[in-house]
Each structure stands twice: as structure tokens, then as C-alpha cells.
């Protein structure tokens, strides 16, 4: 009896709710520890990124207008779908070098991370909003609203929990996002895209790219229709470039690093607030 021939998975990009290959036709190879090839990853180009921004911008109004309750339910649904695919995520992390134990912990923490932020969907507004006792006869209140289209770059280590955090934080607040997966360990990012695609997340709300950070980061930071950039890679050398490019359209820039993304430090509503704008509304009080 010959062994069954496995069906290998083609890892593609996730843009506008679809799985295209890079328009550039380029790829890069991911190997396992023993040097055996795991996949040909798409090496996203500037054009792929621009397409993703168009999708994210188009999805923004609709996603922002969803009720907070609905957004929370969709984040919870993502966690449910991940739970069912736990083993696949674990296997992929293990194939990319995680120990079984570490992989298991990271996958579980990632699922829990979506649940944590799902719960914030209809609460951060109450923590960060205010009613302001103005001295004139007006009713005046301030509420957070999403910043818009956010680009985020995941760190190389802990590829699933970091990506899950970047996505959960930005979309729970009504933003749409383009996220760049870990360059060294990108497999789980595309599997997460498959989860998102079956979790009622509208097309374009989350777009996931794989590719070379050094190549893409200047495009990310200089795109005029991106409102904010979130850089979580520890290196200092790109920070200056990102800030300089960001000034072209006054992008909000956030640098965040965590020693361990599974820890509680990565669970806090102030991260949500980083991708919110405060809108103050006035109305006269009278007859």
C-alpha cells in the first residue's frame, strides 16, 4: 500500500475578502527547521498594498457604521472559528519552529485575545467618552470614533498572537486594516485569513499581506489614504523613516513592542484608544 499523497496548501494574500496571488508574481520560500520547503509565500508588491488600501477604504464606512454589538459578535465569531482550527494553527507554528507546548499556548492565547477585545466593542466608548459640563447653555459630549484605515506590521516572533492582537485592536474600534504578517513565520497569517473569511468579517475590513518588511514599510508609511501606522517591530532603524513619511499626511504613528504578546500587557483598552479620534458634538439647550 503506498502512502497517500498529501494535498499541499497554496498560501496567498488576503485582499478585499478574496485570496489573490501577488500581482507581481513574486514569491519567497519558507522552510522548516530541517530546511525542507514549507511554502512559496506571495511576496506582496506596492501595487498589492495599494489594492488593499482601496479595499480597506471602501469597507470603512460600512464597518464604522456597524453597531458596536455587531462588531463584538463578529470578533467573537472569529474566536469560535479559530477554536475549530486549533490543530491546524498548532501544526503550522510547530512546522515553523515552535515547540508543541509553545504553539499550543500561543494559539489558545490568540483565540482568547479575540474574545477579550470582542468584549470591549461596546465598552471603550463608555470609558473614553465624556459628557462635558460647559459653562454656556449647550449640551456637549465627546465620543471616540475610528481613525480610519490603519496599516500594521507584525513582529517576527509570536506570529499568530501578535497578528491577532493587531487585527482585534484596530477592527473592534471600527477601523479597517492592512496587516503585514511576520516575515519569518507567515503561515498562520493566511490560515487566520481563512478564518476571517468565514467569520462574517466584511470584505476589505481586514487585509493580510505577506512579503518583505524592508521593501513595504516605506510604501505603508507614505500612502496618502492611510490614516495611521502601527509598527511593532523592535528595531529602531525604520522608525525615523516611518515618521518622516507619515508627516506627508499627518498619519498617527504608534510604535508598540511587547516582550511577550501572550501576556496581559497586550490586553488593554488604551491600545484601542490609540486608533480612535475624539469627536465633540455641541447643541444648544433652550426651547
Amino acid at each position: 500500500m503506498s502512502e497517500r499523497v498529501n494535498v499541499l496548501k497554496t498560501y496567498k494574500l488576503y485582499i478585499n475578502g478574496a485570496f489573490p496571488r501577488s500581482e507581481s508574481g513574486r514569491y519567497f520560500i519558507i522552510n522548516d527547521k530541517s530546511g525542507k520547503q514549507l511554502a512559496n509565500m506571495c511576496r506582496a508588491s506596492r501595487k498589492d498594498f495599494r489594492n488593499a488600501v482601496v479595499a480597506a477604504r471602501k469597507a470603512f464606512d460600512g464597518w464604522m457604521s456597524r453597531s458596536a454589538y455587531n462588531r463584538g459578535q463578529i470578533l467573537y465569531r472569529i474566536a469560535e472559528m479559530m477554536e475549530g482550527r486549533k490543530n491546524q494553527f498548532v501544526d503550522e507554528l510547530v512546522s515553523q519552529g515552535h515547540s508543541k507546548n509553545k504553539a499550543q499556548k500561543e494559539v489558545e492565547a490568540s483565540i482568547d485575545r479575540f474574545i477579550y477585545y470582542a468584549g470591549w466593542s461596546d465598552k471603550y466608548q463608555q470609558v473614553f467618552g465624556t459628557v462635558n459640563p460647559v459653562a454656556s447653555p449647550h449640551f456637549n459630549f465627546s465620543m471616540p470614533e475610528p481613525t480610519g484605515v490603519v496599516v500594521a506590521s507584525a513582529p517576527d516572533d509570536q506570529p499568530l498572537i501578535s497578528l491577532s492582537t493587531l487585527i482585534a485592536v484596530t477592527i473592534v474600534g471600527g477601523n479597517t486594516c492592512i496587516v503585514l504578517a511576520s516575515e519569518l513565520k507567515p503561515l498562520t497569517a493566511i490560515t487566520l485569513a481563512e478564518v476571517l473569511n468565514s467569520s462574517d468579517v466584511p470584505a476589505g475590513v481586514v487585509n493580510i499581506l505577506t512579503g518583505y518588511r524592508e521593501e513595504l514599510i516605506s510604501h505603508f508609511s507614505s500612502h496618502m489614504d492611510v490614516n495611521s501606522i502601527w509598527y511593532t517591530n523592535g528595531d529602531k532603524k525604520n522608525r525615523k523613516l516611518i515618521q518622516e513619511n507619515a508627516s506627508k499626511n499627518v498619519k498617527r504613528v504608534h510604535f508598540t513592542t511587547f516582550d511577550d504578546w501572550t501576556k496581559e500587557a497586550a490586553e488593554n483598552p488604551y491600545l484601542i484608544q490609540d486608533f480612535q479620534e475624539i469627536k465633540t458634538t455641541w447643541h444648544p439647550v433652550g426651547i
Binding site: 464606512d61 470609558v127 465624556t130 462635558n132 459640563p133 460647559v134 459653562a135 454656556s136 449647550h138 456637549n140 465627546s142 470614533e145 481613525t147 480610519g148 490614516n227 522608525r239 525615523k240 523613516l241 516611518i242 515618521q243 518622516e244 507619515a246 508627516s247 506627508k248 499626511n249 499627518v250 498617527r252 488593554n268 488604551y270 479620534e277 475624539i278 469627536k279 465633540t280 458634538t281 455641541w282 447643541h283 444648544p284
Partner: protein, 493 residues
């Protein structure tokens, strides 16, 4: 004297001239020196290079005082004073005491409010009615509001331990000189930071008068340092290695340069930049109130307002009526002596700003806009601009896209709320917006879709110390005022 009405009985005759007797505010109670030095480490000190520049009254072109030009050496001195004060005093005293100093400043401003209002109008050109009733009262309110926060910060950020940043470098514009100083200094001090602030080149006097109050309040030396100068002075402050935070209010152009300059440093920054506010009049609005609102939105402070309602959108069905009433109302506006209590529109802040406004008005005409200006008399000296509006403009016209920062309004019409929202959002700015309608549901629907930091519904250009203010998109980041105004000056541990 009101001349006999010659036209219909129901409408006032705006074609004939209404005479008002002059009602100037007295200037004999104000104290201005001929020359002002830099306020560093609690004392007025001469600038290192000994250079001075003049501050001009834009209504007469007369010199008011000469003011020190701070260079890099002075900036270094001021930052050092602020650092020492932070290390040795301000970070050591109790939060309660910090608050009490700020309360003192608020009270002293109230006591000398009229003097400050007059100097503000002399130096900046704004009508005394506004400096007296808006600017200076809000200055006192701001200090009073933030004074109270000093010992209550932990309640503002649940689950966090807020810490000051250190030395804050602050750069402010000329449109609300003392008010912008208050917006910057009050939250910085309340959160435990020390300050080096640079007032605008054309309007330094009230900030220097504030330095006197700071002395009177016995604020420890170096906690607030006030250095006057121009762009280069500001640049030196932004680039200074020992400044932990930059707060800037001014043009988007300069804001972008500052953001770029700060790249690669760990300095925190907040930016309050330009705007091109949409003021949307729906057909069910109370038209007469809306017309007053339009006037206030664009002609308040000569239109030198970053959040001015400079783009008017009127629903087609009422456009004719609104525009006719608006033109009538513009005819009654009095342009002239800022110190006259009857004056509605004062002097344009500087020759440079007047040139910029005129250049944009010309571009509006050249691009095919239909101009209307009121026929009021203008004084012989000083810098003046008649209230102006443009019809027959489109989204691509420069006067619709660019911030004019003067009394110039563009008018476009719309049919559906969606069209108004799309047009309103068609700008890189996102500071303010206005909605006029009788329907609450429309306010919430339209208001939530306009991408701007302040939405005025059935009102415009209202400000309050408790109310956060700031922009979306290229109008800046961070908030000033209210609880949210604390965050730009704190690190949340």
C-alpha cells in the same frame, strides 16, 4: 441715526448707511512697556544676541513695543531653566500645590481681564467685544479647569498611573494669542510638566503680560518660560534634544514639517492644524438663526479661525432665501477699529496675512467664482478685508480646497444629505463642521458621518475649557480642553 426706510415695510433697508457713534474702549488703564525681554527662569532677561523686533498694531500700523528675538542660545537657556525647574521643584512639590499655583494664575487673569482684552485687541486686531467676552474669559476658565485636575489625574485614566513627560516645548499662533497660551500652559502644568512657550511673532504682547502674572503668582522660576521670536526660534525649540514634548498650533504646512523634524526622536507631540470646516444648512433649519450662525462661523475673529465654517453648503430648496438674507446681514457688519465696541470685524492680523487673503480672493475670481463683498467703509490705515462670499464655485476651486484664514466664505448647494456629507468630507482637513436642522435624527446621522473633531449643531464656534478640541486627518492629532486634553502631556504607566 437710521434713515427713513424707502423699501418694503417687512424688510429692513440695508442699502442706506446706518450711522453709529464711535464707542471706543479706553486704553489709559493698560500698562505696556516700550521694550520686552525674554522671560526665562522667572526673570525678564535680554536676548543673547541683543536683537529686537517690533510688534505692530494692525489697525493703525503703529508700533506697540519692541520685543526680544530669541536665538538658539536663548532657547538653550530657557530649556535648561525648564529642566532644572522640573527636576528640582515642579516634580517634587505636591500635586495639590501645583494646582494651587494654577488657580492663582486663573484668578489674577480675572482681576486684570480688561487690560488683557485691550492689549489683545491692540496687538492682534480682533474686536474688543470678542477679546473681552470670549478670549480672556476662556483663558481664565482654562487655568481654573486644569488647576483642579492637578491632584486628580489618576481618576482620568482608569487602571493606569499617569506620569509627566518633563519639559514641554510649545508653539502657538497669532489668532487667539493668550487663549492658545492658556490651552497649552494650563494642561502642561496641571500634569506636572514645565514649559517653554513661544508666542507668535505678530502677537507676543499678552503672553509677555502673562509672564508678569506668573511672577505675581510666585510660580517657581523656570516652570514657565516665555521666549519670543519667529520661525527660527520655534525650530530651535523643536530640535532641542532636552525637550520631551512638542505641542504646536498653526498651519498644516508647518505641522508636517514639525512631525518630520521629530522623526527618529522619542519626543511626544500634539498638533492642532488647519481646517476647512463645512457648515451645512438643511431646508428644515430655522433660517434666521442659521444665517446668524453662518456669520459667526466665518466672520468671527476676521475668519482667522482654524475651525471656521468657511465652506457653506445650503440645501437647494432654501438656497435663494439663505443667500439673500446672508448678503443683507453682511451689509450690516461693521469693519473697523478693533477697540470700538460696535465693531464686528477688526483688522487683519498682519500685512502678510492680508496679502495671502487677497491672493486667494483673486484666484477665486480668476477661477470663475462669483464674488460678493459688503460695501462698508474701511479705515485709511491698517490691514482690512471686507466680508466676502463666493458663489458658483466647485470642489476643485482653490478657495474651496485651501484654508484662507480670512473673512471669505464659499457657497455650494446640495440636494440630499448624502451629497452634503460627501462634499463636506472632500478635504484633507477634518477639524470642524456645522449642521443646521430642526430634526435631531438628522443631526446625529450627519454629525456621525462628518470626519471632523468638533461638530456644532445649530450653533458654531463655541469653545469651553471642559470640551475637547482637535482634528481628524490633516487637521492634527491630540485634543486640547477637557479630560482628553490631559493625555498629550502624560505617559500612562
Amino acid at each position: 441715526m437710521i434713515e427713513e426706510k424707502k423699501t418694503s415695510k417687512t424688510r429692513l433697508d440695508f442699502q442706506t448707511k446706518w450711522e453709529y457713534s464711535p464707542a471706543p474702549e479706553s486704553t489709559d488703564h493698560i500698562q505696556l512697556k516700550d521694550q520686552y525681554n525674554l522671560f526665562i527662569n522667572g526673570k525678564f532677561v535680554e536676548p543673547e544676541e541683543g536683537r529686537y523686533f517690533d510688534s505692530i498694531n494692525p489697525a493703525s500700523e503703529d508700533k506697540l513695543a519692541s520685543v526680544a528675538m530669541a536665538t538658539e542660545a536663548d532657547v538653550n537657556k530657557a530649556v535648561k531653566a525648564a529642566r532644572d525647574a522640573y527636576n528640582k521643584i515642579w516634580s517634587k512639590i505636591t500635586a495639590k500645590d501645583r494646582g494651587k499655583y494654577i488657580f492663582r494664575i486663573a484668578r489674577l487673569i480675572q482681576e486684570r481681564a480688561r487690560e488683557f482684552a485691550v492689549i489683545e485687541s491692540l496687538d492682534g486686531g480682533k474686536p474688543i467685544r470678542e477679546s473681552r467676552d470670549v478670549d480672556i474669559p476662556l483663558v481664565a476658565a482654562h487655568f481654573f479647569y486644569y488647576a483642579g485636575w492637578a491632584d486628580k489625574l489618576k481618576y482620568a485614566f482608569p487602571g493606569r498611573d499617569p506620569k509627566p513627560l518633563g519639559v514641554a516645548g510649545q508653539i502657538i499662533p497669532w489668532n487667539f494669542p493668550l487663549l492658545m497660551a492658556a490651552w497649552k500652559i494650563a494642561p502642561a502644568l496641571a500634569t506636572g510638566n514645565t514649559v517653554v512657550i513661544k508666542p507668535a511673532e505678530t502677537t507676543p504682547l499678552t503672553a509677555l503680560k502673562l509672564a508678569e502674572i506668573i511672577q505675581e503668582a510666585d510660580l517657581p522660576p523656570g516652570v514657565v518660560n516665555i521666549i519670543t521670536g519667529a520661525g527660527k526660534t520655534g525650530e530651535a525649540l523643536v530640535k532641542h534634544a532636552d525637550v520631551n514634548k512638542i505641542a504646536f498650533t498653526g498651519s498644516t504646512e508647518v505641522g508636517k514639517i514639525i512631525q518630520k523634524t521629530l522623526a527618529g526622536t522619542d519626543k511626544k507631540y500634539s498638533l492642532e492644524l488647519g481646517g476647512k470646516g463645512a457648515n451645512i444648512i438643511f431646508e428644515d433649519a430655522a433660517i434666521d438663526q442659521a444665517v446668524e450662525g453662518i456669520i459667526n462661523a466665518i466672520f468671527f475673529n476676521q475668519g482667522h479661525v482654524c475651525c471656521a465654517g468657511s465652506r457653506l453648503f445650503v440645501q437647494e430648496s432654501v438656497a435663494e432665501e439663505v443667500i439673500a438674507k446672508l448678503k443683507d446681514r453682511m451689509g450690516t457688519l461693521i469693519v473697523g477699529d478693533p477697540l470700538d465696541k460696535n465693531t464686528d470685524i477688526g483688522a487683519i492680523n498682519s500685512k502678510a496675512q492680508l496679502d495671502k487673503i487677497n491672493e486667494l480672493i483673486e484666484s477665486g475670481i480668476n477661477e470663475g467664482g462669483e464674488i460678493f463683498q459688503s460695501g462698508c467703509d474701511l479705515p485709511a490705515h491698517g490691514y482690512w478685508c471686507r466680508p466676502t462670499l463666493f458663489q458658483e464655485v466647485s470642489q476643485s476651486h482653490r478657495i474651496v480646497q485651501e484654508e484662507i484664514f480670512g473673512p471669505v466664505l464659499t457657497i455650494q448647494t446640495f440636494r440630499t444629505p448624502d451629497e452634503a456629507i460627501t462634499k463636506a468630507n472632500n478635504t484633507p482637513y477634518g477639524l470642524s463642521g456645522g449642521i443646521w436642522t430642526d430634526k435631531g435624527s438628522k443631526i446625529f446621522n450627519t454629525g456621525s458621518k462628518i470626519r471632523a473633531g468638533v461638530m456644532w449643531s445649530n450653533t458654531f464656534n463655541k469653545f469651553d475649557a471642559t470640551s475637547p478640541f482637535g482634528g481628524y486627518k490633516e487637521s492634527g492629532m491630540g485634543r486640547e480642553g477637557g479630560l482628553h486634553g490631559l493625555l498629550p502631556y502624560l505617559e500612562l504607566k
